[in-house]
């Protein structure tokens, strides 16, 4: 007896829809096993992790604050992955966006005007896009693997911001803490509602979801993006340039990551610190795949992964578990999402064998 994967003649629309839910169910099931091994009551632990963060206004606002950058970066990465440009460096582009956008309030604190905030947002996007252009250039010019270059540039960006806030950008009145000066009022992204901390980053995320949903489903550019990923040779036959697409994908996702970075700094933190994000740029990779590389799907996936951050904090406080539990959950989720995607193109069959294994044909 063995399991055999049998290729379907066409993509299964049913499993394309079901696969993320199967993945979530499997993650929850194995999460319960994990909690049991840690000596916690699985039901209570799962409640603490996934349900209780949704029960107060305060934590719902926190969810929006955490989900916004994930969604913003996730939709950008979807465009990258749909076109087979494997940008793993969104975290670095986020950090660079945060740095470039913060130049105004930190280096020119006396320049106070209503144009500061829009300028910061634009500079943040430009910074992230420029940083994303580096792996794109290396890939198109030298054939360098963008997975490696974009990932390595993350560490460069992280060390760069670390150096900045300990060195030249350290707050002169900050008692030598490794932090920049706090932003003046014109440089702070305002809150959307009076009831909590949700800032305009959430609005940016929603706008990005809608804009990219339209781009991908209705425009020639979206068509080009999908072909570049599925059949590059056919893309060339259609008259589309692969290297232009690489730049487009990296610039777009870099700009969105940069916007997420500057929004986080200017909305949630309001100063530059050595660590800009708790790994939003990496978690957004899971968000993109869990959301089926579809902007609407990414919206929900971003909320779920945002919840995993909150649940992790909650589990730390209530159950006394390590904060690494968040990473474990996110890793399991990504694993199951990718595994379940197999079901879209293959069906699983149980085969009785007698004797030797048959060799695949063709």
């Amino acid at each position: 007896m063995r399991l055999e994967l049998q290729k379907r003649p066409e993509r299964s629309a049913l499993y394309a829809l079901l696969s993320p839910f199967i993945a979530i169910a499997l993650t929850v099931a194995f999460g319960a096993v994990l909690f049991a091994f840690l000596g916690k009551d699985p039901v209570e632990a799962l409640y603490v992790y996934f349900i209780s963060p949704l029960t107060s206004t305060w934590s719902l606002h926190e969810l929006a604050v955490k989900a916004a950058p994930l969604i913003l970066i996730g939709v950008g990465l979807s465009v990258c992955y749909l076109s087979s440009n494997w940008n793993i460096g969104a975290e670095g582009q986020l950090v660079m966006g945060a740095i470039v956008g913060s130049t105004l309030p930190i280096v020119f604190p006396d320049f106070q005007s209503p144009v500061v905030l829009p300028l910061m947002m634009i500079m943040g996007m430009a910074g992230g896009a420029a940083y994303g252009a580096i792996p794109a250039f290396l890939k198109t010019r030298f054939g360098t693997n963008e997975i490696l270059t974009s990932l390595m540039l993350v560490y460069v960006a992280q060390l760069f911001v670390d150096w900045l806030v300990r060195g030249p950008w350290r707050n002169p009145e900050g008692f030598n803490f490794p932090e920049s000066r706090t932003f003046h009022d014109y440089a702070i992204l305002p809150e959307v509602l009076a009831s909590g901390r949700t800032h305009y980053g959430a609005v940016f995320a929603l706008v990005a979801v809608v804009a990219l949903a339209i781009l991908l489903s209705r425009t020639l550019k979206g068509f080009e993006i999908r072909i570049a990923g599925q059949a590059p040779r056919a893309g060339r036959f259609g008259g589309f340039s692969a290297s232009r697409m690489t730049f487009f994908a990296f610039l777009l996702s870099g700009a969105l990551a940069g916007l997420a970075g500057i929004s986080e700094v200017s909305g949630a933190v309001q100063q530059l610190r050595p660590v800009v994000s708790p790994g939003y740029g990496f978690t957004a990779i899971i968000v993109a795949f869990l959301g089926r590389l579809n902007p609407i799907g990414v919206l929900f996936a971003g909320l779920l992964l945002g919840l995993s951050y909150l649940g992790g904090e909650e589990a730390q406080i209530v159950l006394g578990l390590s904060d690494k539990i968040t990473r474990v959950f996110q890793g399991m989720l990504l694993f199951f999402v990718l595994a379940c995607d197999t079901l879209i193109l293959y069906r699983i069959r149980l085969v009785r064998t007698r004797g030797a294994v048959a060799v695949a044909g063709e």
């Binding site: 049998q6 003649p9 066409e10 993509r11 209705r218 425009t219 020639l220 550019k221 068509f223 999908r226 072909i227 599925q230 059949a231 040779r233 056919a234 060339r236 036959f237 259609g238 008259g239 004797g355 030797a356 294994v357 048959a358 060799v359 044909g361």
Partner: protein, 536 residues
Amino acid sequence: MGRDTESSKSGETAAGRLRTGDLLLQAHGITKRFGDILANDKVSIDLRAGEIHALLGENGAGKSTLVKILYGALEPNGGTLSWNGQQVAISSPAEARKLGIGMVFQHFSLFEALTVTENIALALPGRLSLRDLADKIRRVSADYGLPLDPGAIVADLPVGIRQRIEIVRCLLQEPKLIIMDEPTSVLTPQESDQLFETLKRLTDEGCAILYISHRLEEVQRICHHATIMRHGKVVMECDPALETPASLARMMVGADIKDITREASSATEGEDRLAIVDLSAPADGPFSVPLKSIHLQVKAGEVVAIAGIAGNGQGELFDVISGERLSDRADAVLIDGAPVGRKGINARRRAGAAYVPEERLGHGAVPGLKLSENIILTRHATRDGLVLSGFLDRGKAEELEKKLKADFDVRMSHDNPEARSLSGGNLQKFVVGRELDRNPGVLVINQPTWGVDAGAAASIRQQLIDLARAGSAVLVISQDLDEIFEIADRIAVISRGELSAAEAAEKMTRERIGLLMGGHAGEAGKAAEGRATHAA
């Protein structure tokens, strides 16, 4: 499938030569099911020693499935196999080889970076000395008239020689039955003749050969017996010597194939619609062929064919003509007199050209996209109104899809499916129809009917001729000489990136094309004068 009423269980046997050889492999009632499809439905076949047995059928008739079962690569759902009268279960290719069954595949399984000896050593069981093996290869290959240099690197060898390696590899295992899948599809006529000599020698020694081919003339010439399959069943057995290619084709298709009608081109003095002027292109990869100073004109009203063996620069030539790769000079490619050598494929399409590449899936069409979206792929920039200020008009693309489906008889299980779910022939009808529907002034098509069943092939060929006669220029790149003689007004031959001058089809002979294919332009000249010599 259910509509077939012929007695297909055992197949009718027409009169013919008496089959005298000993029964070697007998398959009885072989059934193989893939999901809902019966690929083999109670197929029976007898293979006898000393006999070349042809297995004929259209694409999808179940030939490959049957062969894979005989070679142990697939497990049947039902039926029995007997070898020398003893019932056997062939559960793996290794077991098949142990019995004495060898196979020469259509697509070579050779490592290009290794030598001939190393490639062969990889396929043989046990540990062996490479030096002894090299000697053996030299001896056996010379013995059978297929000389090989054991030390040569495969990457340096032409396709015909690579096939020799496969055959010699098979012979070294001293098989009693050799299965050959389309062995001549990559050979020049001369190389094919050489292969037939070898096959004759093998059968004289008592070896049985199961021979799969689409080339009916060839089957008629060399095969002693033929089994014809259709829709997974054996429909007929016959002696091919008593049949004509047309009657064999009829049995394969189950209906008459329409003859192609071709009036002589009236406009051979027409204007050049497509001109290629001194076009050269360096190789753009380790396995790519450089193009050397190519000249060619295709006039309004004519079909020009480029013959040649695979891998002699056809794909590279197609890419530069289509604009997927740009030339150095704008005037290297002219469409209706306009220099387009530096322009991309969409600019050339707007100038009136259309292109159909060799590979349907992955080049001509995106496998995972619906047909309507695949129409957008090549027509988004051709003023068909499929894109309005950057936005797709999907409704219009779907209308076009319905129109193509009706106009070009593209058969599909449900409306507007993904390209990958179409059979080869239907997908080819679609990608050809997609371009013909634009009524292009210039059509360049690479391997128009490769792997396409006979019925679809005939209709595509007819459409190409009709397009030319309506005043367009049609350039066909093909490896199929029968096809070329059927449709071309003028023929050129490509060999190692060089193109011979196009000559009127009536003046071309198979032998001359064969010599040009081998790059023997001088000898080809002599052959044209009637003093035929055999190519070395």
